[in-house]
Symmetry: C2
């Protein structure tokens, strides 16, 4: 749990129209109709082969903390956002419904019913914004991170993007990156809040602060030991590598290169380190890396990647296009559900009905289709259903350690067809088949 | 002040390497050298004509709340991030230095010294990440927002992007958008925290919940009055407009169109509303708008724009490339400052020295150059200096109402050459001239 994001009311992380809809529905009586909302996306970012669900754990905290404080209610009243009867409803608000969804770390495709929220219209409609904020942000980061860790193969990726993202968004980004295979983060709050391993040693400022590079390296090694990582591109790279090994000895942990032609420089530095007897000193590269740059460095003697801007901005796609749509509702609080869907000519149509989803494997166990249905589940698909219960009768039941999501992502990605991890643009690697009853 | 972002310690919103540098510098004795760090950017996003400083107010809160709690210190010790002497330093940490910078809402260019942080190396180096997080995020949003409000002219822009951004990032985004001329936000937390006007009435779910569109419109008008905005594209647009005016009468406040060819539909709906006698009913459009779509709608009968995804993701540029670099330091706690700068071959070089900045106007008062210097200020430029004091001797002195930043942005943008607000790609509208002593 996080002092910044989880110990506090999430109730105002809400678009105003949710509360005005609530008020109008309380008046019309429709607020108590049993309703099913679905989170899905109509498309993946252009050219991407798969999406990655992330944020689920944070989302469960957000639902649990969705309670209005007295000060918030006073403000809503003062501002005339809603009137007395609605304020009373909000004062007692507590989500009592059910949430099912794809578990965190799972992959998804256009039309995948990523999350299903069921309850009265009143209690479910006002969760829209916070649910989408969390899932759209975290899943965008995880999707980018997954491409990077896939491109990096066995070499570790370290998340270093905090400075290029909103300060709380950065913490969530580190979490999403960890789920998608990153091994560590520079962000201490992410370590503190989520137990993600943290990493980092020194910046150029540290070298510039001292009277010489040698003074700086000496200070760093004295403080952090010979296993530290020395940053070698403040002045002359070859001289810095020589100084680094002189100061730390051949058991120096690593050097970091943060600028220039990284392929060329990695080869040059590797040769120099080997000549100096520092065969085990690793080479870490940073400097505006993305999945393409990581892939391009595959043949270079690099031992780890530090990734910043590109990770926290979703490598060109900083958000997902997930939406939260009413897909079914009863005409009484307990009546049978009726499918509903927008059907204007504008193109933003959706498929009504409460849905299940399964990932159908072929004979070799490789995923071959995402099957989404509104009727009974075909027997052959029953073992491959994707939804898990997350909230039951208002109680969070879907919490799990972050490592479980991390392991799940690894498995889910590995079960996709090989073309899933191609970096070139293409269609989603699985087609979504719709079975309507 | 905001329960989520401001009442809490910001001290761990920090990259680990800042604390390890601190420890090593405490050991070498260099930690107490007087130091000057500068925030600047080497480039604007590709094709952009100007940048917009935003986040300053949040930044001042972050500096003020940069205090380590006992639990945080215990964790840092347990994790071996730093050792006892450093933990002691952190336990007593409080920034005692000075911060000057471009005031919030001001525009900036490559090389503009956006923020200058001066103090001991120790106290200044550990603010790097949180300062950059806030400025890089908020300024990216403000830059996009400024292009949108410029394209919209006198028509209001409403920020509706919360669902597509990290939930706390969204609150900051609403704030940045307001500074850059947006008139309202959908995000209640942004209203609660920053006093930004909020807006919103209903989504498609509200129509789908009811047994008919007429039932839904009736419920909404009964709850919110005839001045409300009815969403008219759930089923058939023309029928919805007819029903809307029947239900609310000709004094209906507005209709909202959220899909389809907005130019075409706006003309069609305007004609229909006028025929129905609802000449004053406004037309609000939403649906993946960005500055280009807004500009394209200039000739359409539209009365307001709701902007979501594109705003909160910086319209293609979700972060800025601002960096935090040591540009000068003394060799004693109080000695004279010596300029320092990275000078490797990698291209990421910077200009050393503590800087001033002025925007030089031409004879007509139109800005003609951004002048940045390290020596004495030429007399003619003295009235045009850009820096203001933000923190003096550790005390925040630069707080101001959000409306002051909003007014400043309007003035600053208006004083730029006309080509500043062209949407086509181009060079920064002002060149930065460097005067070194």
């Amino acid at each position: 749990m996080d002092a910044i994001t989880a110990h506090h009311s999430t109730a105002l992380l809400t678009d105003r129209y949710e509360l005005t809809m609530l008020q109008a529905a309380l008046r019309s009586g429709a607020a108590h109709r049993r309703s099913v909302f679905e989170v899905f996306t109509r498309r993946l970012p252009n050219g991407r082969r798969y999406g990655v669900v992330a944020g689920t754990g944070r989302l469960l905290d957000a639902i649990e903390n969705f309670r209005f404080t007295g000060a918030q209610l006073d403000w809503l009243g003062d501002q005339g956002v809603v009137e007395e009867d609605t304020l009373e409803y909000l004062a007692n608000y507590r989500f009592t419904g059910d949430v099912h969804g794809y578990p965190e770390g799972e992959v998804y495709f256009p039309g995948s019913p990523i999350l299903t929220v069921e309850g009265s219209f009143a209690e479910a409609v006002i969760l829209e914004t916070v649910i989408l904020s969390v899932l759209n942000h975290d899943s965008a980061i995880a999707a980018a991170a997954s491409r990077m860790t896939s491109a990096a193969g066995d070499r570790p990726c370290i998340e270093m993007g905090a400075r290029r993202a909103h300060e709380s968004g950065a913490v969530a980004a580190a979490r999403a990156a960890y789920i998608a295979g990153f091994t560590a983060t520079s962000d201490l709050e992410a370590g503190y809040t989520y137990g993600i391993p943290t990493a980092g040693t020194a910046a150029h400022a540290f070298t510039l602060l001292h009277d010489s590079e040698r003074d700086a390296f000496t200070a760093q090694v004295e403080s952090m030991g010979r296993g530290t990582t020395l940053l070698v591109d403040t002045y002359d790279l070859a001289e810095a590598v020589r100084t680094a090994v002189e100061v730390a000895g051949p058991t120096l942990g690593a050097v970091r290169i943060d600028s220039g032609d990284l392929t060329l420089l990695a080869h040059r530095v590797r040769r120099q380190l080997d000549e100096l007897g520092a065969e085990k000193t690793r080479i870490i590269v940073t400097s505006d890396l993305d999945e393409y740059a990581i892939a391009a460095l595959a043949a270079a003697p690099v031992d780890g990647y530090g990734v910043g801007t590109s990770l926290v901005t979703g490598s060109g796609h900083p958000t997902c296009a997930m939406v939260y749509k009413l897909v079914a509702r009863a005409t009484t609080p307990d009546g049978p559900l009726v499918s509903v869907a927008k059907r204007s000519a504008g193109g933003k149509t959706s498929v009504g009905g409460r849905k299940w989803a399964a990932r159908r494997p072929d004979a070799d166990g490789v995923a071959e289709a995402e099957v989404v249905g509104t009727g009974p589940v075909p027997e052959a698909l029953a073992p491959h259903l994707l939804h898990v219960p997350l909230v039951t009768g208002g109680e969070v039941v879907g919490r799990e350690p972050l490592t479980a999501a991390r392991e799940r992502h690894k498995r889910a990605r590995a079960a996709l067809p090989l073309s899933a991890t191609q970096l070139s643009k293409g269609e989603p690697v699985l087609a979504t088949e719709l079975l309507t009853s």
